[in-house]
Amino acid sequence: MLVRLRIAAIGLGPALLVGAGGLLLWEGLVRGLGIREFLLPRPTSILGQLIDHWPTLRHAGWETGRIAVSGLMVGVLAGVVLALVTTRFRTLNEGLTPLAVAVNATPIVALAPIFNAWFGITGMLSNQAVVVAVVFFPVFINTARGLTEVHPDEVELMRSYAASEWTILREVRIPNALPFFANALRVVAPLSVIAAIVAEYFGGPQDRIGNVITSNAGFARYDVAWAAIAVASAVGLVLFAVALFVERVSMPWRLVTGNGDSMTTPGRET
């Protein structure tokens, strides 16, 4: 147990160090170069605002977090389902992929009015829809790749068992796609947060992170805006950590050392 904690601490060490170093550098640069705080506020000012506005920000973070997480879950599900369907039925792939690309090439500014028109601006639905639209594509593309990029030997074996396409999907393609899926999760975790925030600029109840950011940025009150961003970043960081965790527990075989990485991974400084 203690060992585990220690390992976790060692794992977090560099991140904390870089984080702390980055903040220090930021503070120093703003002070040293005389960067105006209305352009880029100092971390200490942001911290001050974070403390001052904590009740508002906590509530806003919670509301935005709910939109991001629910949209993320639906989007991930949609991406996975789409990937499964398109690998299973190749013809659908040729029709659906362009559609997916089209949705993905549409910026939130254009999606928001359309979704607002469809789903209304008084609830969370249209904001969630924006998150879904942003999230599903990376999940879809990556997962689809993992589902198709399987080793021919493994498929041959399953064929010899007269395994149905569905069984091959379950036994070969899905395990093979897991690392690709995990990769997609890492990508979409922060995207879901930012999508929720940007969607909030254009509609929905006004007690969200996006609204805190815009109303303060509109005044060039960037220290408060950055405090809200810090809350959003924290949500993003939590989601990223969850993605890493899912990755670890879903692929135990990747944790065992094969011969290739029994020592330090080559090419890396020891």
Partner: protein, 350 residues
């Protein structure tokens, strides 16, 4: 530079290049500046002006204070907050003499005054555009955090059109027109002003000053920038006078500068913008001290501003000098006789 007597005559030794940051994309709201460029008015003041359009994430005051541009157009309360945040910016010409913000609802909704907002879904844009609404409703005895529900509005008026919200924020020169360009599915005809009910914050008494020209306070100490400011203000105001007298030309100018909004919409907007500027009893661009006081009063009571700004926040000398100059040239700087024209909006504002 140029010598005093020759200001505004086009007799230039050198031409100064300056840039102006707008708050939003090209539209008749900024017609005066575009006209001053296209009609060679700035040129007469020995200025070569580059107009920077605004964008969703551009805050004009910030662009000004960071030195990216030389002048900026911004609403007064927003700029004052920025000033409080440490930006040394100065209001050198108060172009709009009244507020163009309305709260619009359907005529049959029974929302005719701020107290009627109680219990309603009330749209607004945020971004600092909501304070007249908050103050106005508070003045009517409503608590914005509990007596009605605030909803973030999109750019467009769809939420009001399809009945999702009860009242929506609208600029008289833009979104209000949008309502009148929309087709009533029941009749197949455009909605009319009779279909709508409007709360005008100018009437409620919580209006706050809007478009003004802001300059960099620190640089004003510098002789040459001060001189440029004087010429820039004069040129801009002359541009606005041109648009007052030649509104059709200004609509054309705005359209030529790449507005995607339709011609009748721009004509409407030009007309309403003129209505926000004219008449200017103290001369165009000169601060109306009552409205300044009201703006600050609302800002402080709404806690937008922690305290009233110091006297350096605005300066009337540039506008007054400009008015003097223009008046001496026999031009009408107050627009006493200006009258609204009748603009017919086409479907979609085309």
């Amino acid at each position: 530079g140029s010598d005093e007597a020759a200001v505004g005559t086009g007799d230039c030794d050198t031409v100064d290049s300056v840039s102006l940051q707008l708050q939003w994309v090209t539209q008749a709201q900024f017609a005066g500046y575009f006209a001053a460029v296209d009609e060679g008015i700035y040129e007469k003041y020995c200025l070569d002006v580059t107009i920077r359009e605004g964008g969703v994430d551009i805050v004009p005051q910030q662009q000004l204070a960071s030195g990216a541009v030389d002048f900026a157009v911004s609403w007064v309360p927003k700029a004052l907050v920025s000033r409080e945040e440490g930006m040394n910016i100065v209001n050198v010409a108060q172009v709009f003499q009244r507020s163009g913000t309305l709260q619009v609802s359907w005529a049959d909704s029974g929302i005719d005054s701020p107290e009627d907002l109680a219990g309603k879904l009330v749209g607004n844009w945020g971004w600092g555009n909501e304070f007249e609404l908050l103050a106005g409703s508070r003045k009517a005895g409503l608590d914005p955090s509990s007596d009605y529900e605030l909803v973030q509005q999109s750019f467009d008026m769809l939420a009001l059109l399809n009945g999702e919200i009860d009242a929506a924020q609208a600029m008289i020169y833009n979104e209000y027109a949008q309502m009148l360009e929309a087709t009533n599915p029941a009749t197949g005809k455009l909605y009319t002003e009779d279909d709508l009910s409007v709360i005008d914050w100018n009437d409620v008494g919580t209006a706050m000053l809007q478009d003004a020209i802001w300059a960099d306070g620190a640089r004003l100490a510098d002789e040459s920038y001060a001189d440029i400011t004087e010429r820039f203000v004069a040129g801009s105001l002359e541009g606005w006078m041109f648009c007052r007298d030649n509104s059709a030309d200004c609509v054309e100018i705005v359209l030529n500068n790449g507005s995607a909004l339709g011609a009748s919409h721009q004509a409407w907007q030009m007309n309403e913008i003129n209505g926000l500027i004219w008449p200017s009893p103290d001369g165009v661009g000169v601060m109306d001290s009552d409205l300044w006081a009201q703006t600050i009063g609302v800002s402080t009571s709404e806690s937008i501003l922690a305290s009233p700004p110091d006297s350096g926040a605005h300066s009337t000398v540039y506008a007054e000098a400009a008015v003097e100059l223009l008046k001496n040239r026999g031009m009408d700087t107050t627009g006493k006789n200006w009258r609204r024209v009748e603009v017919t909006l086409n479907p979609g504002g085309e």
